[in-house]
């Protein structure tokens, strides 16, 4: 599953059409959801599929269909930062990989506690992290207001 996720993430970078990029990203997300399920956090797997694939990507696909701006056939797919970007990405992967590989095994393979359940998670979320929960709702309201403001700007610009 991880291999498929990685492969479709690489595909995202080389495919030209935005719709196919979106499909590759959906594949990556579903595979990540499968990994979460295999890890034992089923509720995060469910939310990954519901929120990301169900909401975010449907929104994205909808916008791609709505815009339908065709690129010119000979249009460059990559910006002029291609070579430095690839070099930086390879360096980043190498550094992360080496540090993960060298990381002391006793920290990473420490005997973990028992995997937590959904009940445990929910009570913790609403008792210890209640402030973050409330801040999240405030944040969502702020985002709605900001989106409405953007739409209002576009209306004013057009008439």
């Amino acid at each position: 599953m991880g291999v498929i996720a990685l492969l479709s993430a690489v595909l995202m970078l080389v495919i030209r059409e935005p719709m196919r990029v979106a499909l590759a990203l959906i594949t990556t997300m579903v595979m990540l959801g499968g990994i979460y399920g295999l890890l034992g956090v089923h509720f995060i797997a469910a939310f990954q599929v519901l929120i990301y694939v169900g909401a975010v990507m449907v929104f994205m696909v909808y916008v791609i269909m709505l815009l339908e701006v065709r690129e010119a056939p000979g249009h460059a797919r990559y910006s002029r930062w291609l070579v430095p970007g690839v070099m930086a990405c390879a360096t980043l992967i190498a550094v992360l990989g080496i540090s993960v590989y060298r990381s002391s095994a006793e920290v990473l393979t420490a005997p973990g506690g028992a995997p937590f359940s959904l009940t445990q998670f929910s009570t913790l979320f609403l008792s210890e992290y209640w402030l973050e929960f409330e801040l999240t709702s405030v944040f969502l309201v702020a985002v709605i207001v900001a989106a409405l403001a953007v739409i209002k700007v576009s209306r004013r610009a057009h008439g």
């Binding site: 815009l67 797919r77 910006s79 989106a147």
Partner: protein, 100 residues
């Protein structure tokens, strides 16, 4: 290499590929999708760590990242729509008059 290391490696690779996509691609929507890929990579490492330690704090953080990703998309999509309507193009190089 055991399972945790592999998962961390996968998450780092996903993050780097997303970063590469944001840097390299020119289509604004594709850049947004690569941003989502970066968030997914971070989520994977958070889930791995929280599952390994048996601690629910990482899962709480994952939920906050979900919320942030959704909000970011909900705010970025109208902006991209506006830009495309003005410029008739999704190429970010055409938006260079936005720079201060």
């Amino acid at each position: 290499m055991d399972k945790v290391q592999l998962l961390l490696l996968l998450s780092g690779a996903l993050f780097s590929l997303g970063l590469l996509g944001v840097i390299v691609r020119r289509n604004a929507l594709v850049m947004l999708m690569c941003l989502e890929l970066m968030l997914n990579g971070v989520n994977l490492s958070l889930v791995t760590f929280s599952q390994q330690r048996g601690d629910a704090a990482g899962a709480v953080l994952v939920f906050l990242v979900f919320v942030v990703a959704t909000a970011e998309i909900a705010l970025a999509i109208p902006i991209v729509l506006l830009l495309v309507r003005f410029k008739r193009s999704m190429d970010i190089d055409r938006y260079s008059d936005l720079k201060g």
